[in-house]
Symmetry: C2
Subunit: 456 residues, 2 copies
């Protein structure tokens, strides 16, 4: 039994709906379908979710922006009309939106969550109706019926463990289950959405709950690549990678998956297959618990910008019991989360995402460090990028660091930081943002030399 | 005005005393002399300090080991006899030891500190007498008279800042000042010794207090070398290095200086010159606040053994606010001090000196980490060595990391950890103890290629 999730562009129009139907028809193992809200149909189009956000923001005490409302309706109308589905479906869509608005009018947060969730919810209803119209046995299953109970934090729901036995009961429902992604219900009965990557999260939860043999994630690319196609032309496609490799890559800039979405399937070791709705015959990329090593210790290179470092020096720092703990306590106290804390003998740096040091916050944090820790030298370095070189078993390979640093030297990139030794599957380099593209390209060429010929 | 310190082997015998006298005579700027206790005269000899420790341990309620007492006396007797000094000096030596024993008999700690300090104290008195016998104006100055007031922690004294104005007054004393190293007096009037490297500390304090133009540190090597002569034959001598370079090298295994001894002179930017008592004509090594860079970004390579790492994994660790702070709080609570904390996304390591994880302590620390932090995977890796590559400005040099990692790969050393980015003057590598010698040799050859010809 497989769980299949379709991203926004895969369910954006009638044309895409038809592809989904034929993908489902091609494999009877595809038991549960998770759908996103209709995404962009073309460059410059607006996602339904963004239309819904605009609508939510326009809702006043008694009214709302009628044009925003109509824009949302139009997305579903287009699909329903083109697929020649029963027009009573549009009455349901309209009624649903009115109901959410009147239910949550008093609370901005709830209203936003309720309307955002409508995008997926209505799309699942339309998809179920379409599959039924094709003569398939298909049932819309609301997250409430599925038993998806979540924490009651708007926009940041977490699934509660008691949901899983409930989800398992869906195995008894006949035919294809069509489930909206992105949200669950709190114990109080409120609609609450998941954080970023929400439909991936739903798919992962349902796959774990149903104990699926595979979680297929349909998107609009043939596979995951070993490096961003924005930096390298036609980079190598990845046939298979492990959960940990995926997590390191996703964390460091690969946007295929939000890195936390996979948690439920990782836990159950259910393989994930990333496939292309528009080219379902392409093999895609499998993400698995473990894989055979093929002699290439590096599988991917990711990069992410927007970091900075707080650097401090204090003579005899290393003899000062509690220095590091006090520093981290100040950051925690100020609500600043950090990524790494490389340290020398008399110096320590904290690497963090720059957006956390907005104006007032930066001064406050620096003042506290200066005064409470009595450091001698203290400064912030901005515009840092992190490059992550990822691969199972690379920590056991002699010469990996040598190759990587050679590539960076050849690119003329000054290495601001190297972090190796904690993770067994990655090595991290901090460089200036200005150096990141040439650094990544140079790393790609050194680790994937066969592909170099393809490059300009 | 220079302050000159002579180490144990430089003042171990009458022959060495004569060298000291001629070194002092050669430069009238040498105003203050700090002496250690008589050290080893030859391979297999016993240092006076160790004889004094044996004596201290033998002291009972009413008696002590007479042979231990005589062994101490013999060291001074030999010097006094050969230099034909007044025999009344021996009466003073004997009387001093009896006085210390009777004063501190009731407290083991005080007695040990008092007798250890006698080694330096008596040697300073004999040295002053010898210089006077040569017709020089020389005065023994006790740390009490010098105004060296220290914290009252036996074996771990710290100088108090109010000492410095007192020390400055010694500038008015005529002739050469002969000051015993290694100890000061607490406000209560107790003799308290400094931690490891004690005479170096005294020299550094006196140099700072007198505002000396130079602190000369006489020992038994011509210079500081860029790498341990135990690992490489005839390594390059260092003409000049900065305080920070010295501190990084000393911290990581260079035993010329205890790394904290220099603090007072560093503060005042007084140059330190390491010279050889047995070959005073050799230029020695100067340690200064800043130096001109000569195009060689690496100045030295040090290594130290006896490290281990505690490694832990926890899925989504990086999203857990306070994880690092809680981990460090556990270590602090258990009295375990750490060196570095490299971290990945879902993993973190703590590098520490292995001796801190003795049997019961290891189990207790691991249990607390497992239970309080709910980590998924937790293990200790032992037999780690740290290699430090040091040089001013190397962080600005592109390709430094590449050269270093290439050298380690060529040596077949698997890099367990790389730490770069916090210190501006060093890069650190963790390797297995078994790989350390070949790794250091390979690094030496890559950074100091001109010297390779000298090697076997």
């Amino acid at each position: 039994m497989k769980v299949v999730k379709f991203g926004g562009s895969s369910v954006a129009s009638a044309t895409q709906y038809k592809k989904v139907a034929s993908i489902l028809a091609a494999d009877p193992e595809r038991k549960a379908v998770i759908v996103s809200a209709p995404g962009k149909r073309h460059e410059g189009d607006t996602k339904t979710t963004d239309l819904l956000i605009r609508l939510a923001e326009s809702v006043g005490e008694r009214d709302f922006d009628e044009s925003a409302f109509q824009a949302v309706l139009k997305r579903y109308q287009d699909i329903i009309d083109e697929l020649e589905l029963d027009s009573s479906l549009m009455t349901e869509v309209e009624g649903h939106l009115h109901e959410v608005i009147s239910m949550y009018r008093q609370s901005k947060d709830r209203l936003l969550d309720g309307l955002k969730a409508s995008g997926e919810d209505l799309n699942a209803k339309v998809m179920a109706a379409y599959l039924t119209s094709l003569g398939r046995k298909a049932t819309y299953i609301s997250p409430k019926r599925a038993g998806m109970i979540v924490t009651d934090e708007p926009g940041n729901a977490q699934i509660l463990p008691e949901s899983y036995p409930e989800i398992a009961k869906l195995r008894g429902v006949e035919g294809v289950l069509v489930i909206p992604g992105f949200f669950g219900y709190s114990y109080e009965g409120n609609i609450v959405t998941f954080p970023r990557g929400g439909s991936d999260i739903t798919g992962s939860i349902i796959a774990a709950g149903l104990d699926a043999t595979e979680y297929e994630n349909f998107t609009d690319v043939d596979s995951i690549y070993c490096v961003s196609p924005k930096m390298v032309d036609q980079p190598r496609e990845l046939k298979e990678l492990t959960y940990r490799e995926m997590r390191e890559l996703a964390y460091s800039g690969f946007s295929v998956f939000h890195d936390e979405a996979l948690q439920p399937v990782v836990h159950k070791k259910i393989p994930v297959c990333v496939k292309n709705t528009n080219r379902p015959e392409a093999k895609g990329t499998r993400i698995v618990a473990s894989r055979e090593l093929d002699g290439h210790p590096v599988i991917g290179i990711a990069s992410d910008e927007g970091f900075c470092s707080i650097n401090m020096t204090k003579y005899l720092m290393n003899r000062e019991l509690g220095f590091g703990r006090k520093l981290l306590a100040i950051l925690e106290d100020e609500g600043v989360s950090y990524e790494h804390t490389p340290s020398g003998i008399d110096n320590m740096s904290v690497i963090l995402r720059s957006h956390q040091l907005y104006n007032g916050q930066e001064a406050r944090v620096l003042n506290r460090i200066r005064e409470e820790l009595q450091v001698e030298d203290l400064y912030v370095e901005r515009d840092l990028a992190m490059i992550m070189v990822v691969g199972e078993g690379m920590n056991q390979t002699i010469g990996i660091a040598s190759k990587a640093t050679q590539a960076l030297a050849q690119a003329g990139a000054n290495i601001k930081m190297i972090n190796q030794g904690s993770s067994e599957v990655s090595m991290m380099f901090g460089v200036n943002v200005a150096d990141v593209e040439k650094a990544v390209r140079s790393l790609y060429h050194i680790y994937f030399p066969a592909e170099v010929g393809q490059k300009a």
